[in-house]
């Protein structure tokens, strides 16, 4: 069954499953790509969403690295 976009002010506010006849009565547009928060411009779905924040873990400190080395050394000695 096709998916449809509900569009307000040029932006997709919801995407729904519907029969074609019902979707037509509601003025919904068949969803060919994208989804909620995409723009609908000149009959095309366009992704203008803000780029999500990339989470970069902080670099370990010298003390943290030394602690890891100590722990690894202890594990190796336990195996010998």
């Amino acid at each position: 069954m096709p998916n449809y976009a509900i569009i307000e002010n040029g932006k997709v506010i919801n995407t729904v499953v519907a029969e074609a006849d019902y979707a037509t009565t509601q003025g919904w547009v068949e969803l060919t790509s994208g989804g909620i928060d995409w723009d609908y411009v000149n009959g095309q779905f366009v992704d203008n969403r803000p780029v999500p924040e990339v989470v970069t873990p902080p670099a370990p400190t010298k003390e943290q690295l030394m602690a890891q080395l100590t722990a690894l050394s202890a594990q190796i000695q336990a195996l010998e």
Binding site: T15, V17, A18, L31, G34, G35, E53, V55
Partner: protein, 245 residues
């Protein structure tokens, strides 16, 4: 009061006898399955017993729902669509699942709805939140999609009904979420992992005092598409609306 049996109060076949304050009277027979209900000082009547729900109507497509004949109480459950899984290459994110809802038609009600799970971003970003329910007596948040740091795609989040898309192996696309409302799994490529999409929210409520024949407006949210590209994320599963009566 004397019990008068003078031939004018012939027992009804299948009826019951009762006192009318003057003499012994007999009720009509009623119909099979009915039970006798007191009317206080008036004649008792046969009525069809109420009780638990016996019917479930499952809507997987948007439209209208007509309140069935004789029904004045409905239990309604709505589940939003699952979010799409992320593409491991990072070029595109999964799409958010659609919102499912039941709102007024010719019958006026307070809207009950559940948003879709978040379409997740690719490697290096936080997985998104699950969808949320609102307007119900019980509102449920879908599970968040996951990030997998062991060279497998992130597992999608689940809804109350739909299981998540499982992790994928290196070089494979993400797996789709399961009906209803499960989030899609993320894909994985060499050195890059897509997060799983989140599960759709849910909401449950009893509605009383409804009028048979009136309509309600039903919206069923889609599953969010997975992030596209060489290593596409899995798609979320569509939501659902369930009527019990």
């Amino acid at each position: 009061m004397a019990l008068i049996l003078d031939g004018t109060n012939t027992p009804t076949l299948g009826g019951v006898g009762y006192g009318d304050g003057t003499e012994l009277a007999f009720s009509a027979a009623g119909t099979s399955g009915q039970v006798l209900t007191s009317a206080g000082g008036a004649a008792p009547t046969w009525v069809t017993p109420g009780g638990g729900f016996t019917t479930m109507s499952v809507s997987t497509s948007s439209g209208t729902f007509t309140i069935p004949t004789g029904i004045t109480t409905l239990k309604i459950t709505v589940v939003g669509g699952g979010g799409g899984g992320g593409n491991a290459n990072g070029s595109t994110d999964g799409a958010t699942g659609g919102t499912s809802s039941v709102a007024s038609g010719t019958q006026t009600i307070t809207t009950i709805s559940a948003t879709g799970g978040g379409g997740t971003a690719s490697s290096g970003s936080q997985p998104t939140d699950g969808g949320v329910g609102s307007g119900g007596q019980l509102n449920i948040t879908g599970s968040s999609g996951q990030f997998n740091a062991t060279n497998k795609g992130g597992v999608g989040g689940g809804s109350i009904f739909g299981g998540s898309g499982k992790y994928s192996q290196a070089g494979d696309p993400g797996n789709n979420g399961n009906l209803y409302g499960g989030g899609g799994g993320g894909s994985v490529a060499s050195g890059s992992i897509g997060n799983g999409g989140s599960g759709g929210g849910a909401s449950i409520k009893y509605f009383t005092g409804l009028t048979p024949g009136n309509t309600l407006t039903v919206t069923v949210g889609t599953g969010g598409a997975g992030g596209t590209g060489t290593y596409a994320g899995g798609a979320g599963a569509a939501g659902v609306v369930i009527f019990e009566y």
